[in-house]
């Protein structure tokens, strides 16, 4: 059956030719890796629980302040930040409700997030990032992305005037669909760096 053989060869050839653009495309995708791809990757994580270390460099203080705790996120809009040391504090955002609880002083505050635009903008820098929601991010910030899929840095510059008076820039760094660090630079010169350790 020579005819068949040729036919098979031809088919294999055709398949190879047809597949070639796919390889090329695959390369092209990784070459134009950008904000949408990053967001899609981030969006794939339904929930996460990680521990963090935050170092605050504050002008009011002689020495940097070191905080430890854990961050919990559940899609679409539940975020918890529990500080374990040097004091205990829980900060829980669920939808529009924000609850701040300080165990050491027994204080407990509950606020509507949207009634506090600055705080809201600040929360969304993390929450919208973890959710992979670029639309919300762009509502509050000018978003710039640099680096590669393996090591990226997203720069957030506040749109809002009131927010802009407090915060100069927020930089979020990570690898693939994982956030590794959050750096906040305030206009006052104070800054904080949060490093996220992988857990689980």
């Amino acid at each position: 059956m020579p005819a068949l053989k040729t036919d098979r060869t031809r088919r294999a050839l055709l398949a190879a030719v047809a597949a070639a653009p796919l390889f090329l495309c695959g390369r092209a995708v990784s070459a134009v890796w950008g904000i949408d791809a990053l967001m899609a990757e981030l969006a794939r994580t339904p929930a996460s629980e990680v521990s963090f270390r935050e170092t605050k460099y504050l002008a009011a203080l002689k020495a940097p302040l070191e905080l430890r705790g854990k961050l919990v996120f559940r899609r679409p809009d539940h975020l918890e930040r529990h500080v374990a040391a040097p004091f205990e504090e829980s900060f829980i955002v669920d939808g529009d409700r924000m609850t701040l609880e300080r165990k050491t002083t027994g204080e407990r505050h509950q606020l509507s997030l949207q009634s506090q635009p600055v705080l809201w903008a600040f929360i969304e820098s993390i929450r919208a990032t973890l959710r992979g929601d670029v639309a919300t991010l762009r509502k509050f910030y000018r978003v710039e992305l640099a680096g590669t899929q393996a090591q990226w840095t997203m720069t957030l510059l506040p749109n809002d005037v009131e927010m802009g008076q407090l915060v100069r820039v927020i930089r979020i760094g990570g690898t693939q669909g994982r956030v590794q660090s959050i750096e906040v630079q305030e206009t006052s010169g104070d800054r904080s760096i949060t490093r996220i350790d992988e857990k689980r």
Binding site: K56, L58, A59, A60, L61, K62, A63, L65, L67, R81, V83, P86, F87, E89, F91, D96, L100, R102, T104, T105, Q110, L111, S112, Q114, S115, P117, V118, L119, W120, F122, L166, V167, V184, E186, S188, D190
Partner: protein, 772 residues
């Protein structure tokens, strides 16, 4: 001739005097609350004041809807807030952004050491400062620290949080896009407080016009529409509705009545003359109320004119009964004994109302007393003088033959049956018979009421209905007592009975409290030394807290806060609405929000009585007042009926006749009430007042039915007069029953129905109605 001139001159002079009083000297008040009791308990007085001027009456809720996306609505909501603020009508506008005006923020921050409840000597001891500084460090390091760090150097003890907390506690409904929305997300919500009192109708009308214009500017699409609700909105709406309805329907009723009367009289001049008694009555009535009470309420005017509606009938009784070759004068003389009884019975009924401690009822009583008396006298003495020679030829020609109709004798027992059935039915309804809710007495449509309820629920509006009231001798005393109440209220908060409360003392503490707080502040040297010790081991920069030391010194040296210190801030009005002067000094109001169980709260408040403080529940209190009002009206109605019976006896001298007059009328009144209740209406004050009119009209019918008349023609004429009277009443009030406005409607239905039943029952019961 001479008598004629004297009578007409006197009449004209009196009318001119009445007209002068009415047009030059009378103020017409539109204040609904002025219609409420004169001899009230202090609680009621307080409630009335609150209903009139309090927060409750000034609160307006707005809803914006008609866009597909919340973004568009939120945008309009923000623009609308700005537009509303620009009108200058509002002391406070909020769409959920909870923006505290800059001057308020500044005021609270500047005076934080006098305003904060945390300020005491311990707070400024080394240990107290140490604790405060550690807390400050925590706050600085916390998630919201960024917002706090600017104030840190001036306010390390965080007093501003204690000061601002009460203003922040009202969480309100959920927000979207930064502004309040209802649950569906299709309606943006706003809350505002007018500067003008809720029942200052002219001011409120202006406010509403400006609000509409503001919304016109603020909205970003033609499909967006504004919903508004609140006591002041209702007041203006119902006034407009009543005015609109009243004018339209009065015109219609007048046309109907004129048609009926023209058919009866066949004479235009008589038609005109027939209006003179009732017109004189209205004028005299208004003048009398004006003299007696110093002002006339709009409601008196409206209902009074209705109440003396029976006076339209007086000339009818005369004009339709003029026999051939009889002068008007003779006819009047002939009819007068019966007509006099008709007038006297109504006057007696009104006399009872005059005794009411409710100003509204008393005004109505005086109005109808004077008006009916005047109308009766004009019919008797002035009309015959006017209808002398020139008009004598124009005589009414009643179509007598139409009306020689009678019933089988056994039918009269239907009257007794109807009376018994109605009484049994009315008694079986029990308390469900009555409308107790003052809110439902508001002449507003069900749609408007439903909207109000929806928006209030969605807003979780501060429960303007519940508040604590503290009585003090002076303003400062009231403030001090309010402060003493705070721990008790904090306990209630802990128990979850209330979510939050407000107090004027939060923004203007009593002098003693301010002095104590100021004395708790250490001198500069002492503070510096204690602060240094407290700071040991803490990571704060050296010299960071110099602004704090300076601020504390400033407060130590500055004067204390007085009401004038608040001038120009939004807090000024807040304090002013929470503090009020009354006859025994000053009261402070502490409104509550987030009350889940009003009854449990009431029980928990029992123990406060000794502290010159009590829980004021506007709803319970106003419902109680409505009930009092109604109970009194009922009693007066009963007294009036008894007095009327006595007057009847004095005039008729035969119990059999008195019964013949009273029984069918009472039967008509009760059957009307039973029918209304049977159709699912809850009886209110307006129904009661209308039933009073039914009593008046019905007695006239019954009196005329029971005249002793010798000839068949006389009887036919008499019956014709009655049919004409009933037809005018039914057509006039039947038109009113078509009104969209529930008040006018209930009056129209009641009187129309009552008129027909009165005629029917009197006819059935009377001698001339029987074939025998």
């Amino acid at each position: 001739m001479n008598t004629r001139r004297v009578v007409i001159t006197l009449w004209c002079a009196l009318l001119a005097l009445a007209a002068w009083i009415v047009f030059a000297r009378t103020t017409i008040s539109a204040d609904l609350v002025a219609f409420l009791p004169r001899s009230a308990t202090p609680t009621q007085q307080l409630m009335v004041d609150q209903l009139r001027d309090g927060v409750a009456s000034r609160l307006v809720l707005f809803g914006i809807e008609g866009s597909d996306t919340p973004e568009q609505l939120a945008q309009t909501s923000r623009a609308f807030v700005n537009a509303l603020e620009k009108t200058g009508h509002f002391s406070y506008v909020n769409n959920g952004e909870q923006r505290l005006a800059q001057q308020d923020r500044t005021f609270l921050f500047e005076h934080r050491y006098l305003l904060s409840a945390q300020v005491n000597p311990e707070r400024f001891s080394v240990e107290g400062l140490r604790n405060a500084l550690e807390a400050a460090l925590g706050r600085l390091a916390s998630s919201g620290g960024m917002l706090y760090q600017r104030a840190l150097a001036r306010d390390p003890t965080g007093e501003v949080f204690a000061v601002i907390q009460p203003l922040m506690e009202n969480a309100g409904p959920a927000t979207r896009e930064g502004v309040w929305f209802d649950e569906s997300g299709r309606r943006a919500l706003l809350m505002a407080e007018t500067r003008a009192a809720g029942f200052d109708m002219d001011a409120q009308q202006q406010v509403q016009a400006d609000v509409a214009a503001a919304f016109e500017r603020a909205r970003n699409s033609a499909t967006q529409k504004l919903l508004s609700t609140g006591p002041s909105i209702f007041a203006v709406q119902s006034r407009a509705a009543i005015e609109g309805d009243a004018w339209r329907l009065s015109a219609l009723a007048t046309v109907f009545v004129a048609c009926v009367l023209f058919f009866a009289y066949r004479s235009v001049p008589l038609l005109g003359l027939g209006m003179l008694p009732v017109a004189s009555g209205v004028l005299t009535g208004v003048a009398a109320v004006s003299l007696g009470f110093g002002e006339v309420h709009g409601i008196t005017l409206g209902f009074g004119a209705t109440l003396i509606g029976e006076a339209v009938d007086y000339p009818t009784y005369v004009f339709t009964q003029i026999a051939p070759d009889e002068t008007v004068r003779d006819a009047v003389r002939r009819v007068w004994p019966t007509l006099r009884m008709a007038v006297l019975t109504t006057v007696t009924g009104s006399l009872a109302m005059l005794l009411s401690s409710f100003q509204g009822l008393a005004q109505l009583g005086l109005f109808s007393l004077t008006g009916v008396l005047a109308a009766g006298l004009v019919t008797r003495y002035v009309l015959p003088q006017l209808v002398q020679m020139p008009l004598r030829s124009v005589r009414a020609k009643p179509p007598v033959r139409f009306v020689s109709f009678s019933f089988a004798p056994w039918l009269r027992w239907l009257v007794v049956l109807a009376l018994l059935t109605s009484l049994v039915f009315l008694v079986s309804r029990g308390p469900r018979l009555w409308e107790n809710d003052l809110a439902n007495l508001n002449p507003i449509s069900d749609t408007a009421r439903q909207l109000d309820q929806n928006m209030r629920e969605a807003m979780g509006a501060p429960d303007v209905r519940l508040m604590y009231v503290v009585q003090g001798g002076t303003m400062d005393d009231a403030l001090a007592r309010a402060e003493r109440l705070e721990p008790r209220l904090d306990a209630l908060k802990q128990r979850g009975l209330i979510r939050a409360y407000d107090s004027p003392a939060f923004y203007l503490p009593s002098i003693d409290t301010q002095r104590a707080r100021r004395q708790a502040l250490p001198t500069e040297d002492v503070l510096r030394e204690r602060l240094a010790r407290a700071l040991q081991g803490l990571p704060f920069q050296d010299g960071l807290f110099e602004p704090f030391i300076a601020d504390v010194q400033k407060t130590r040296e500055a004067g204390l806060l007085s009401p004038q210190s608040l001038a120009g801030t939004g807090l000024e009005l807040k304090v002013r609405t929470l503090l009020a002067k009354n006859s025994s000094g000053w009261i402070a109001l502490l409104p509550l929000s987030g009350v889940q169980d009003a009854e449990a709260l009431t029980a928990a408040s029992e123990s406060l009585i000794g502290e010159a403080a009590f829980l004021l529940d506007l709803k319970t209190e106003s419902n109680r007042m409505v009930k009092d009002y109604r109970d009194q009206a009922l009693w007066l109605w009963l007294i009036g009926a008894i007095a009327t019976t006595l007057v009847l006896w004095a005039g008729l001298r035969q119990w059999r006749l008195v019964l013949a007059v009273m029984l069918p009328v009472l039967c008509a009144v009760f059957t009307t009430a039973a029918l209304l209740a049977g159709f699912g209406m809850r009886l209110n004050l307006f129904h009661l007042v209308s039933l009073l009119l039914v009593l008046g009209i019905g007695l006239n019918y019954a009196l005329f039915f029971n005249r002793s008349l010798s000839t068949a023609e006389e009887r036919a004429r008499n019956l014709f007069a009655l049919l004409v009277c009933c037809l005018t009443t039914v057509s006039a009030f039947g038109v009113l029953s078509l009104a969209a406005n529930p008040v006018l409607q209930s009056i129209g239905t009641t009187v129309g129905l009552g008129g027909i039943l009165s005629l029917l029952f009197s006819w059935l019961w009377s001698r001339c109605g029987r074939t025998a």
